[in-house]
């Protein structure tokens, strides 16, 4: 009960020797399971149990992936940059609105239900409208991506800014801190884990936004490749494109994970 330590004081790093042991314990079972899965898949495909048209063998997918890497990487560019632009803008707008809403009771009461409303409705249904308004190019995809990635960030920011226990606020008031200093010293550190988890959700949404735009406009991007190969029953190419899209998703995800680590370390060392 008296433990009033700030967050971020997690003891993540175990001893190096045990790290190896723990890693082995954590990594071996899933890797074995994955190997079993892919091995079985390969075997069943080669024996013709799985139709090559519906589910080509992993080796075939890999071959296609390598062969089409040039085209795939080309098409990954608009998807990657579109999603990155989407999440960055969504983060900027979402965090700003979250802070504004948290500091105004009236704004909160007016805007928060609207935000919750947008969280609950299927926003993807609006994709065709965005394309109608902003054309069928890269910009429209980015704008739609901002639109759907924005909400998880706002909600996380608002939740996060309420996360500091009241005792801290009383402490700050007793120390006669200004509201701004209190924000920096207490509110923000408590909010950051929430904000970063909102950003992680936002990253996935931003990718979805761009891919969905590409599905509908069908001009460029990995979404286009996926749809194109599905229509032609080129399942190996389809799986290759999904694989690369996973790569895009992971790359964006790691950017934000790295950012989180840097910010966390910054607060840790103060």
């Amino acid at each position: 009960m008296t433990d009033l330590g700030l967050p971020f004081q997690r003891n993540l790093w175990l001893g190096i020797g045990d790290l190896g042991r723990d890693a082995a314990r954590l990594v071996v079972p899933p890797v074995a399971a994955a190997a079993l899965l892919f091995g079985g898949w390969e075997l069943l495909s080669r024996n013709g149990v799985l139709s090559a048209r519906l589910l080509p063998a992993p080796s075939k997918v890999f071959e296609t992936f390598v062969r089409s890497l040039g085209v795939l990487l080309d098409q990954a560019q608009p998807t990657f940059w579109g999603a990155l632009a989407g999440i960055l803008l969504a983060a900027l707008l979402g965090i700003a609105l979250g802070i504004a809403v948290s500091y105004s009771r009236a704004l909160m009461q007016a805007v928060y239900p609207t935000i919750v409303f947008f969280q609950l409705i299927p926003k993807v249904a609006l994709a065709p409208v965005f394309l109608l308004w902003f054309g069928t190019g890269f910009d429209a995809n980015v704008i739609f991506s901002v639109f759907i990635a924005f909400f998880p960030v706002v909600v996380a920011t608002i939740t996060g800014l309420q996360a500091a226990p009241p005792s801290y606020e009383r402490l700050c008031q007793a120390l006669m801190m200004s509201r701004f200093r209190m924000f920096l010293a207490v509110k923000l550190p408590f909010a950051l884990p929430h904000i970063f988890s909102g950003l992680r959700i936002g990253v996935t949404f931003a990718v979805i936004g761009v891919v969905l735009g590409e599905f509908i406009t069908a001009q460029t991007g990995l979404g286009y490749i996926i749809l194109f190969s599905a229509n032609n029953f080129e399942t190996a190419l389809l799986l290759s494109a999904i694989l690369l899209l996973c790569g895009v998703g992971m790359a964006l995800f790691s950017i934000f994970l790295a950012l989180e680590m840097i910010v966390t370390r910054f607060y840790d060392s103060r």
Binding site: L14, G15, G17, D18, R21
Partner: protein, 274 residues
């Protein structure tokens, strides 16, 4: 893992016929994460015994391994070395003859007080006969929860929840009652009340009891014997018989003898140097 220990224990029970006590702990040792950098010896080789019907407290500073020892007696953790037997049988897994209380009441939040008391029967898949419901109600009445049988844990105070937990530990009439700091989360006044309730229930039902605590006064008030444990790795460093007759009232806490015993025990507990 401890197949050897189990075998040894079984052999011992077979050979040394009249077992030394109802609960017999023989050279029990517990090491966590054996063989890694995080190896911790929680309990150093320890032996003691508890007679049938005796109330024994394990007293020691926090983190001294007393709870680990209790969990091993309950069969919830296996000793690294040594053996534990209860009623002449090696304790290798939990048995239905033991009742356990934890530091928190561990009630099911979605069940009423009465249903929580009846929980052991559901857990052990035994039929809940009307006389068992009757027994559970009587227990609740005896700990002062008349009129709260249908309340959910959220509607009860901390002390009331622990009263429900006492009833739950007694309802299936276990021979051995194991309690792991059951009142340490309560305030001092509630704690005194709970000690009285426990005392009353124990005197009525007269089970063998092992009680873990870090409160010296609580241990002296409740017990027939107090065993003092050292800092980690825990071992028994003092075995004190408490002479007060039963039934006891809170007023014995004011006597000189009581306070002398407490002083003696306090001198034995090793304090961490500052």
């Amino acid at each position: 893992m401890n197949a050897n220990a189990t075998l040894l224990a079984a052999a011992e029970v077979a050979s040394s016929a009249p077992s030394p006590g109802y609960v017999a702990i023989d050279q029990v040792r517990k090491i966590y994460n054996a063989g890694t950098r995080h190896q911790v010896e929680a309990v150093a080789p320890t032996s003691f015994s508890v007679k049938a019907g005796e109330f024994v407290s394990l007293l020691g500073p926090s983190g001294c391994g007393k709870s680990t020892l209790l969990m091993m007696i309950a069969g919830l953790e296996a000793p690294t070395q040594g053996s534990i037997s209860v009623a002449g049988r090696a304790m290798t897994s939990p048995r239905a003859e033991t009742g356990i209380m934890f530091q928190d009441p561990t009630l099911l939040p979605w069940k009423s007080a009465l249903d929580n008391v009846l929980f052991p029967f559901r857990a052990m898949n035994r039929p809940v006969e009307p006389e068992i419901v009757e027994r559970a109600s009587t227990l609740l009445d005896h700990v002062g929860l008349q009129g709260f049988h249908g309340h959910k844990p959220r509607q009860l105070s901390g002390g009331m929840r622990q009263r429900v937990a006492i009833c739950r530990a007694l309802v299936y009439e276990p021979d051995l009652l194991l309690m792991d700091e059951p009142f340490s989360a309560l305030d001092a006044i509630t704690r005194d009340e709970m000690n009285l309730v426990l005392m009353k229930m124990w005197e009525e039902h007269h089970r063998t009891a092992v009680f873990v605590t870090h409160s010296i006064r609580e241990a002296v008030f409740l017990s027939d014997r107090v065993l003092v444990m050292s800092r980690r790795p825990g071992r028994i460093i003092e075995d004190v018989r408490i002479p007060f007759s039963r039934p006891r009232g809170l007023e014995i806490g004011e006597t000189i003898e009581f306070n002398e015993i407490c002083g003696h025990l306090r001198s034995k507990i090793e304090h961490r140097p500052h």
